[in-house]
Amino acid sequence: MNILVFAKRVAATQEEELRIRDEGAAVDLSKVPFKINDWDNYSVEEAVRIVEKTGGTVTAISIGDAESDEVLRRAIAMGARDGFLVSSGEIFHDPGVRSRLIQNFIRKENIPFDVIFTGVQSEDDQFGCVGGILGACLGLPYSSMVIGIDAVEKDHMIIRRELEGGLQERVKIAVPCVLSIQSGINEPRYVSIMGIRKASKVERKVFQAADYAAPASAGIEVVRWTYPEKKGGATMLTGELDTVCGQLLGILKEKGVFQ
């Protein structure tokens, strides 16, 4: 089975203070660390596991600037055979633009595949769209929220989709198809610095995004970035650690959950 797996390099903003620049025109990410999108890490691992069992190859593809090579090296260290960078200095916020770029790239370069994996969503933009749009554009069956792959056959797969409240549904899907992989589907292998260094010796191919751009007819654009509206917020407990913890215990007692 030949699997194309998409991996995006994203800003790790969980512990960062984010500032908007130029009156809402841009978000300043200059001091923020970057990493592989968490969902894509699970997706690369799942692809590698399948290929380890059934044979075939995993090809990791990223769209982004030259720095995105980092996630390709990482994917190769995890077991991908190839890494393709579709290079662009521009950030495409519209997932439709990204999906059509991918569609054109796959078609024009004649890249063979049985299955395409994306993550359920990008950590930064949380669109959760690229896999679904791509699947529809390629005329292939699609499923998102894939939390388990129970069987891999030549012409179909049995997968599990995650729904709400801990419920799952088992689905039969024809191959070729596009699947968006949910976090927690597996335990991604550890990647050492040594492993990444070794992966650096494997050649990654670079393509120019401009060669695959689709004429835009319908789409979305971001007109301004804003900070979240404050909703009143919490009463902050401040002072020395002793004081703060004392206050916290006081609240627990007042609420009657701790004596």
């Binding site: 903003t13 512990e15 960062e16 203070e17 984010l18 908007i20 978000v27 519209d94 439709g96 950590e123 933009d125 949380q126 959760g128 769209c129 679904g132 699947g135 069956p141 699609y142 998102s144 929220m145 599990r160 989709r161 709400e164 409240g165 801990g166 419920l167 799952q168 549904e169 088992r170 689905v171 039969k172 899907i173 024809a174 198809c177 976090s183 927690g184 007819s217 319908a218 979305i220 654009e221 971001v222 301004r224 970035w225 804003t226 404050k230 917020g233 919490a234 009463t235 902050m236 407990l237 002793d242 703060v244 913890c245 916290l248 215990l249 609240i251 609420k255 009657g256 959950v257 701790f258």
Partner: protein, 307 residues
């Protein structure tokens, strides 16, 4: 004619409450609403001008490939809507993207606000630390709406009932069965006091120390999704949309940022206390009390005081 098409989210015979948010945004935009729903005895209420029952089974309707064909029929009969609205759920996320791709429509997901003056949709970026104002052009825009964002705008409407035949189900993707969650050792939905840990605890090795604290405080330990994904805690301990919805007297969140999928599972707790080292963590917007500190230090200090 200009209208908003609402694709109802249903599951195992239940009409999901989040559909009110879909109705709400249609009303906010001043659109006449047509709601699509599969065959079944759903309690849909009067939240759209027209409710179209598509005569297919629920599992057929909830499949984006079938939905694409159903939508093709609807567009042919009624013309294109201005807006196609999904809930931002496992169903809505999947089908919004697929619909946009199939028809070449623009799409904005996880919409939590709308600015009427500017005609822009508000969408979260970076787990709610920043929001983008999105403008769509060229065709009906497909959106999925965040639960709780628009229900206040929903109004009583005529709910004229119509029926339509659905296209034959596709064979390339078919429903097999539902799979229930594994049985739990403890039911976190029954606890009065939850100590909930997030990715901020850093590693599995920290779990025993939080278990110990929970024991001393007589709290039950729960967690956010990453903690369960990494198998630091078992799945039945997960709080959030894809886990459990909890309403304890006290919810003490340590090292949890406050993504909406988490918030949706605990926002109705009587008292929420959040501990986080990031002053801008979105969870502080939902908490009643907040502490900006290193969670491990708070943990150790609490243990020291409680003994």
């Amino acid at each position: 004619m200009s209208y908003a098409l609402i694709i109802a989210e249903v599951r195992r015979g239940v009409f999901e409450e989040r559909n009110l948010d879909s109705a709400g945004i249609a009303a906010l935009l001043g659109k006449e609403a047509v709601m699509l729903i599969p065959d079944g005895a759903y309690e849909a209420g009067n939240i759209a001008e027209t409710v179209v029952k598509v005569k297919v089974a629920e599992e057929v309707f909830l499949n984006p490939l079938n939905l694409k064909n159903i939508l093709g029929q609807v567009f042919a009969a009624r013309g294109n809507p201005d807006l196609i609205v999904f809930t931002h759920s496992s169903f809505g996320m999947e089908s919004a993207a697929y619909t946009a791709g199939a028809f070449g429509f623009p799409v904005v997901t996880d919409v939590s606000g709308y600015d009427k003056e500017k005609g822009v949709f508000l969408k979260s970026y970076y787990s709610d630390k920043i929001f983008g104002e999105f403008k769509a052009s060229g065709g009906p825009v497909v959106i999925s709406v965040r639960s709780g964002s628009f229900k206040e705008f929903a109004v009583d409407k005529a709910a004229k009932a119509e029926e339509m035949e659905g296209a034959a189900p596709v064979e390339t993707r078919t429903f097999v069965e539902y799979v229930e969650e594994e049985k739990a050792d403890v039911d976190i939905t029954k606890a009065d006091f939850l100590l909930s840990v997030g990715r901020g605890i850093g590693s599995k090795e920290e779990i025993p120390a939080y278990e110990d604290l929970a024991g001393r405080l007589k709290a039950v330990l729960s967690g956010s999704r990453p903690v369960i994904d990494k198998m630091w805690l078992p799945k039945p301990r997960q709080v959030g949309t894809s886990g459990k919805t909890v309403r304890p007297k006290v919810y003490l969140a340590m090292g949890i940022s406050g993504a909406f999928q988490h918030i949706a599972g605990m926002k109705d707790s009587e008292c929420i206390i959040a501990v986080n080292k990031d002053t801008e963590a979105p969870i502080f917007q939902y908490a009643h009390f907040g502490i900006i500190a290193d969670i491990h230090k708070v943990r150790d200090k609490l243990k020291e005081i409680v003994g």
